[in-house]
Amino acid sequence: MPKAGAQHGPTSPLIEARGLVKQFGGLRAVDGMSISLARGEMLGLIGPNGAGKTTLFNLLAGSLKPTAGTIVVAGEDLSRRGPERRIERGVGRTFQIPKPFAEMTVLENVLAGGQHQAGESIWMNFLRPGRVAAEERAAVEKARSLLDFVTLSHLEGEPARVLSGGQRKLLELARILMADPQAILLDEPAAGVNPTLLELIIDRVLDLNARGKSILLIEHNMEMVSRLCGRVVVMAAGRYLTEGAPADVSRDPAVVDAYLGGVAA
């Protein structure tokens, strides 16, 4: 069933979530959901408004802690761990509404994604300034090549607050790529982006996947999901509904029903 583009890794899934439950007061936003992301896969997560997609996403990214269930990332149980532990296991995320470091320059934003930097220790800046400087030079070079990748090079010295909505999404992508994740969780990358920039984002996401990055994509834009994902998981009312190739899923009566019943526009 998976598209030709999706390559399965030799080992276990990169992210494996089982029986996730998230209770907010009387509301079960996620109600026993399981999902797994294979190495190199580009997986779509769709569902009507209120299906619990964003809550599930936040559970996977660690910014919410599950009421029940487990999340195993690259073989380590991170169910109870905060978001800062995800990236060291190779999982990065973007935000539905981008969160640039507004007063920092575009280049500095990307540099902030660096991992294991000696210069993040107060003492190393005084005891090993040479090592800090060498790392920093390498980091700047890498950050600039990532800015080239997302076509923001010409803005590297500008504060991130001047970027448009779509540019902010690209900046977030570059920032998380700085951390060399194996998997990227993309939260509605198409929302509020003009068509030209959207094509660029789609192109870059395909490129990343071709280079072996696993991608989990939450998206309302079904056309985008069809173009990108080999496999789509459908969620409704906090639960797993079905999965399959995008074309099959969008014809599935249960899915159509969930969308028609779920959207109270």
Binding site: E84, G92, K99, L107, N125, E136, V140, V162, Q167
Partner: protein
């Protein structure tokens, strides 16, 4: 210029520099990290009292007086205030900014009340006197004494400035600013926000303690009255006027606001009859308030404002690159578009 005038100018600047140190401490906490500390006076007081206790001669009616060298006092003050900041931070640093403000304010009031009431240690309302002054053997020559003290404080400020600039322009400083700008995004990049905020809070508190010690030794006498919330307000005014997030701005703001404060005190003493001077003193606070409003209206980022640091390791490189032709892009004109 008369000798008195030079001596007074040196005295004025030395006092201003003690405030500059406090301001540098607050800049680490607020300017870099966005930690809303409204208990500056408390951390300054801890430094002042610790150094006074360490360095004054043995006094029968109160604890200590350990007669140690001044340098030990200053170091002890910075360490003690840094340690207290660390402990308070460990309890409160996860709080939202407004709650952190309430907590730190409470700490400062508690410290001041302890200083006022714990007579066997702090000397109570009368404070601690005979705190050894640096270069005391020069006291016979006011000019030499003032200049030597000014040189000492200037050296401390320069050393602190250089050390802080190195940190601000390092990956460590970058993480602090990232946390200040968006904590959730910083955490998603693997940055342990609590750890970095705690480090910044403790370092800032330690610097405030050092400032308290330096001031105590320069004046030679401390009392609980010195560490009321007005001090916190002054230091905040200094940082906002000079430019939050900018270490040079912190120093400049301290000198300017202290100039307004000391200058207006002199002017009011000359202008008003002695019977009215206590009431006229309230005008000093008004002056600071007016200066603050003027700055916020005219230069909301302060006189110097925060610089866009990229990294201390690529200054020239980035200038070269930015000096090159800038491709025009339709998107660049969409400044401020969310």
């Amino acid at each position: 210029m008369s000798v008195e005038l030079v001596a007074y100018a040196a005295f004025f600047l030395t006092m201003a520099l003690t405030y500059a140190i406090m301001c540098l401490g607050l800049n680490v906490q607020w300017g870099q990290t966005g930690l809303f500390n409204v208990g500056v006076a408390g951390f300054v007081a801890i430094g002042a009292y610790v150094s006074a206790l360490l360095t004054t001669p043995d006094t029968p009616e109160r604890f200590g007086g350990f007669g140690m060298p001044i340098a030990v006092g200053w170091l002890g003050a910075a360490l003690a205030a840094g340690l207290v900041s660390f402990l308070i931070g460990a309890l409160t640093i996860r709080l939202r900014a407004d709650y952190l403000a309430i907590a730190t304010f409470g700490v400062a009031v508690a410290v001041q009340l302890v200083a006022l009431n714990l007579e066997p240690v702090t000397g109570g309302p009368f404070g601690i006197g005979f705190i050894p002054r640096p270069f005391a053997d020069l006291a016979g020559n006011p000019l030499a004494f003032s200049l030597a003290n000014l040189a000492l404080l200037a050296a401390v400020v320069v050393a602190l400035y250089l050390a802080l600039e190195r940190l601000v322009r390092s990956p460590w400083g970058r993480v602090l600013r990232a946390i200040r700008e968006d904590e959730a995004a910083a955490r998603a990049l693997g940055k342990n926000a609590t750890k970095f905020r705690l480090q910044a809070f403790a370092i800032g508190g330690g610097i405030m303690g050092l400032a308290g010690a330096a001031q105590a030794h320069f004046i030679g006498f401390i009392a609980p009255d010195n560490y009321v919330p007005m001090l916190t307000f002054q230091v905040w005014a200094m940082l906002i006027v000079g430019g939050s997030g900018n270490n040079r701005g912190a120093i400049l703001g301290a000198v300017l606001v202290w100039g307004i404060w000391a200058g207006s005190a002199g002017a009011f003493a000359a202008l008003f009859p002695p019977g009215e001077q206590a009431r006229a003193a309230a005008l000093q606070i008004v002056m600071i308030g007016v200066a603050l409003c003027a700055i916020l209206l005219l230069r909301p980022r302060g006189i110097l404002g925060e610089e866009r640091v990229v990294s201390r390791h690529l200054g020239r490189l980035s200038q070269l690159r930015r000096a090159g032709p800038q491709p025009t892009d339709k998107e660049t004109s969409r400044a401020g578009n969310p």
